[in-house]
């Protein structure tokens, strides 16, 4: 990524440049519009949505839909709002991200600096697990969670997310550590440092950028997951995405679009914040250390 600031820089005339800016702005509009619609309509009274223009700013501004989405909206049968589900998702995401990232770092370290016969095949096997359609594991996973006594629980969901996140975290750390000079590790070994000391003292201090990638990736994926949440969660462990879907799809009563929009933004908020705060590092790291040709 040394050539980051390098543009291909063909020469273009004034007309072409205007056209380029026009296209770029139109696409910006395309990406912003749906979110703008959600935001604007989440602060309108319901009557203004059903009777008015979705692109118009509210005549009457209200935060009532947000309050309702957060603490009183009907989710399934309970009028709890999304708050308990938001908390469920947090309780699920934090340990799942931490565990899978630590394991990924250790795996990446082993697979690059302590190579042994067949390690590439093992890595290939781990890597393939990133790409399987999860439908292939749904039935046995449900049985396994039952056997382990984790069915419908948050620890069960944490286990599921750790298992199916390992491939990606291992991939990230392996590709990152591969470019770290092996001589430094050798030198430390000759000095008598063991596996964990080398990991702790030499590898971890340089792992910042890729740890950021791994954490953001895992956080976004696990927070946004719907399939596992819908399949394996119980009444006390339903994650945010599933609750949002229940809220939006519920067929009873008046459809409170403004509450749905507020709820959708609430569900999007943590990943958006993470993305806004650390997105730059993510894309940079992803391009440097992921599946790329």
């Amino acid at each position: 990524m040394a050539a980051v600031e390098q543009d291909t820089a063909v020469r273009t005339g004034a007309f072409t440049r205007t056209f380029i800016y026009l296209v770029l702005l139109l696409f910006a509009l395309f990406y912003l519009l749906p979110f703008f619609v959600m935001l604007v309509n989440s602060v309108k009274p319901l009557a203004e949505i059903t009777g008015g223009n979705m692109l118009a700013l509210p005549d009457v501004w209200t935060i009532q839909p947000w309050l309702s989405a957060w603490s009183t909206a009907q989710i399934g049968v309970e009028p709890t709002g999304l708050r308990p589900y938001f908390i469920n998702s947090l309780i699920m995401v934090v340990p799942a991200v931490a565990i899978s990232t630590v394991l990924g770092a250790l795996n990446g370290f082993v697979l690059t600096k302590w190579r042994f016969r067949g390690d590439t095949i093992l890595f290939g096997l781990i890597l393939f697990s990133c790409f399987i359609p999860f439908q292939i594991v749904l039935i046995p996973m449900a049985r396994m969670l039952g056997i382990l006594g984790l069915a419908g629980s948050l620890p069960g969901l944490i286990l599921v997310h750790v298992v199916y996140g390992l491939g990606f975290t291992t991939l990230y750390f392996r590709n990152y550590y591969a470019s770290f000079p092996t001589e430094l590790v050798r030198a430390a070994m000759i000095d008598g440092a063991g596996f964990f000391r080398i990991f702790w003292r030499i590898m971890l201090p340089v792992s910042g950028p890729i740890a950021v990638v791994s954490v953001i990736w895992q956080f976004t994926n696990i927070w946004n997951d719907f399939l596992f949440g819908a399949s394996f969660s119980g009444s006390g462990s339903t994650p945010m995405t599933v609750a949002l879907n229940n809220l939006v799809q519920s067929s009873t009563g008046v459809k409170e679009y403004n509450v749905h929009f507020a709820g959708a933004i609430l569900a999007a908020l943590p990943t958006l914040v993470v993305y806004i705060v650390a997105g730059r590092f993510f894309v940079r790291g992803l391009m440097a250390g992921s599946v790329k040709g």
Binding site: A3, V4, E5, Q6, D7, T8, V10, R11, I20, Y21, L24, A28, Y31, L32, P34, G52, N53, M54, L103, L106, V110, W114, F116, L122, F123, G124, L125, L127, F128, F131, P133, Q135, I136, V137, L138, I139, P140, M144, V163, Y164, L166, T170, A178, G194, F195, N224, F226, L244, V248, Y257, F261, A268, T271, L272, Y275, G279, V283, M287, V291, K292
Partner: protein
Amino acid sequence: MAHSASQVDFRTRLQDWIPKLVLSPSLAVVMVFVYGFIIYTVYLSFTDSKMLPSYDLVGFENYAKLWALPAWWTAIANLAIFASLYILICTTIGLTLAILLDQKIRGEGVLRPIYLYPMALSFIVTGTAWKWFLDPGIGIENTLHLWGWESFHFGWIKDRDMAIYTIVIAAVWQTSGFVMAMFLAGLRGIDNEILKAAQIDGASNWNLYRRIVIPLLRPAFLSAFVILSHLAVKSYDLVIALTGGGPGRATELPATFMYSYTFTRNSMGIGSASAVIMLMTIAAIMTPYLYAELREKS
């Protein structure tokens, strides 16, 4: 001395084993939860499992039933439409935006995150947003009516024949910015000298891109194809949130088909068979790619 020598020997041998011990829990987990589970599901696809797993083998019966189901053919046809349009449009938009953004654009730092942020959202959120955006009653159609374009009609989401295209639109919205980022990284990695030389030789901008730049982006094209195709086969949440598989069953994809047959229609055998076919589809795309990647790197 002999004593301490054997002690050192023991320590180095332990050191040899530690890396393998560290790797082994992850490996064991992957072996059981990925490969063991795949074998289990493949086995189930040859049994007469209904609501619960059964271990009585019935040969290829489930596969025969599966391919005789109109709903499965709908799902396959939808996947074909969805995947090809999704990959094609995302790649086109991604490449176009990357090339345009690469022309020393003022405000690139503002535009890039705008293109990229949908990637951070859950497909459930994307589906919710687009569902109402495309709804004829309160969405874009209504807005254009209010602005005076009375004859405008856009009811794809309620139309059996067109609903699958609304899924393409929402999915493209979500991922095309990410594809742009991949191409942009590829473009920034191209050596400027090659381009300058071609320009001195009198190549037009169009030829410059067609003959030199785009061929050099081959790896980015390949990664984009692999990532997009596997996302397409796995697409589940977006359909659930946007159309719920409807109207009727018009937007059923293999992923939603598998879920409904396994968990709500109590045909676990057929559900497993459909999952196996999904896995084989992805394996056919991923295995050659991963093989090439790994061989190159080691």
